[in-house]
Amino acid sequence: MSGKQRIRMLSVYLLLAAFAFTFLIPVAMMLFGSFKPDDQVLVQAGRLGSLLPTEFRWFNYQDVFARVPFARYLFNSAFISLCIVAGGLLVNSLAAYAFARLQWPGRDWVLLVVVALMIIPLEAIAVPLFYEVTLLGWRDTYWVQIIPFIANAFSIYLFYTFFLSLPRELEEAARIDGAGPWRIFFRIVAPNAKPVFASVAILSFLTQWGALLWPLMVTHSEAVRPLPLGIATFYSLPPLQWGDIFAFGVMMVTPVLLIFVLFQRWFVQGVATTGVKG
């Protein structure tokens, strides 16, 4: 590598490092702020030099548990997200398989509708959906936060493109071996589609873990409210203590980060595969 190339490489790395630093600062502020006493958090916010806390103390974390039912929020979020992920993997993969492989009248039209549904945001249908669940008497339950989100057009589309890329002969071989459509799906197709299952699981988990608008509309009791709603109410809970809020934030993102780190190999592979084939 010549001197010129080395300088160019170095400047590229410096630029990238500067970007990374800019993006990481809010996360670092949240993390370090969660260990600081409240009077230091805002005072030191404008100065990089005092980003690191002088001592690590856990009192903000203890505060969170003392002031709000954090464990309840955490359980609610986990339960709702996991139900949506589990139900979604089953329902959306089966739907996608029906689109990708089974022959039935109107299939291509229905697929077109599903793809079109991807562009409709929740905000656009939130109010009609609210009426519907009110009619059903589902408000302020777990189910109202789970059932509307199990079927997901984007997940179906991800599964669909992946299934199209699987060699058809695998399924034909299984048919000849005597397997029916269900067995072919669960014994042959699903085990060979692990990357897309991982991608869909992580994507829908992330979406649900951060959901705020819908829970805000349909829940009012602490018993069924999830974490994002918890942190939103925590903001407005006097006295306003930033250290506590940061501690809440850290505890809220840690599970998601852990899941992402654990599954990131599959996740990246899945997104890459589905991306190319789509």
Partner: protein, 373 residues
């Protein structure tokens, strides 16, 4: 084991493509029949129709005299080896072999015994714990065969099973398939585009073109008595040379053959003469097998003067590319390939005379049918 009968089978796809046209075929119990044809001739479609992976647009399929048009692949008790093997990538070799037996609710002891037996026949015992991704092409091929045979199917279907293997392995596994088929005596339908495979493996060979049956026969029948110019060109390596020509009736019980600029007098048997006479004065095609050329005079051989364009020395034989003199621009359909034993050197003036026995000549009419049959 079972016999198979296809009655007037047609298959049209939604796009309007007719893959198989009114095809009838009978396969005897325990027979190995090879379906051969160029790609897109409908041979794989025919196999899939028999397997139950596709439904016939018209016609009936019988297995052991039972109409199976509406039966599932499992009810038909067929097994199939796919071109890309279609082994289940997430299962070990053992699990791949066990899968069909588990689906037919075979007892655990029976599964174990049967899988062991098949593993022995196909030399798979060492590979049982590996996954398909960890196997070589030849090993995968054997596992695919094993998975098909493990159920003891009544019909064994193979769709170009050797096309993904290299040449030396292909010959080896071809022999193995023949050995296993002879041993198990399972009725087998084997699809290939490779006429060498067809000739070496098949009890009978079925030649297909554009979804239509061209000829059924033993390899020898197809080679010696092709019904039409397609079969003549397809069977043999290289295939038969077929060139435009003409016949002239000399009136004395003899015919003259116009070949390029030459007029060759033919002394033919009475029967052949009578079949050919109606075509005198018409344009026909003459077929000569590459093996029929002799560079030294043979008894009763007719002489053909040729220009030698190129020779390829292959060690035990030489392939010579020839054309007839007097033609300025030689179209591809008027060049010959001659297959000569040993070494043959290109003459300095490029002119060479070859000798061909009249009975080694084939004649096809404009429609391509063999006039002498």
């Amino acid at each position: 084991m079972a016999s198979v009968e296809l009655r007037n089978i047609s298959k049209r796809f939604g796009s309007g493509v007719q893959a198989v046209k009114e095809l009838s075929l009978t396969i005897d119990d325990g027979e190995l029949v090879v379906l051969v044809g160029s790609s897109g001739c409908g041979k794989s479609t025919l196999l899939r129709l028999l397997a139950g992976l596709e439904n016939a647009s018209e016609g009936e399929i019988f297995i052991d005299e039972k109409n199976v048009n509406h039966d599932t692949p499992q009810q038909r008790n067929v097994a199939m080896v796919f071109q890309n093997y279609a082994l289940y990538p997430h299962m070990t070799v053992r699990a791949n072999l066990e899968f069909p037996l588990q689906l037919s609710h075979t007892s655990k002891e029976r599964i174990k015994a049967r899988v062991g037996e098949i593993a022995d026949i196909l030399h798979l015992s060492e590979l049982m714990t590996r996954k398909p991704g960890q196997l070589s092409g030849g090993q995968r091929q054997r596992v695919a065969m094993g998975r098909a045979l493990v159920r003891d199917p009544s019909i064994f279907l193979l769709d170009e099973p050797l096309s993904n293997l290299d040449a030396s392995l292909r010959a080896q596994i071809r022999a193995e398939i023949a050995r296993i088929q002879k041993r198990l005596k399972t009725t087998t339908l084997y699809v290939t585009h490779d006429q060498v495979e067809a000739m070496t493996l098949g009890d009978r060979v079925v030649v297909l073109d554009h979804g239509e049956l061209q000829q059924i026969g033993t390899p020898q029948e197809l080679y010696e008595h092709p019904q039409n110019s397609f079969v003549a060109k397809f069977i043999g390596s290289p295939g038969m040379n077929i060139v435009p020509s003409g016949l002239i009736d000399r009136g004395d019980g003899r015919l003259d053959l116009k070949l390029g600029g030459q007029q060759i007098s033919l002394v033919l048997e009475r029967q052949a003469y009578e079949k050919l006479v109606p075509y005198s004065g018409q344009d026909i095609y003459t077929g000569i097998r590459p093996e029929a050329f002799a560079s030294t005079p043979t008894q009763a051989g007719v002489e053909i003067k040729t220009n030698v364009e190129a020779v390829e020395f292959l060690g035990h034989e030489t392939l010579a590319c020839l054309f007839l003199p007097g033609v300025a621009q030689v179209p591809a359909d008027q060049t010959f390939i001659a297959r000569l034993p040993g070494r043959f050197n290109k003459p300095n003036d490029d002119v060479a005379v070859f000798y061909i026995k009249p009975e080694a000549l084939y004649f096809f009419n404009q429609a391509g049918s063999n006039i002498l049959m």
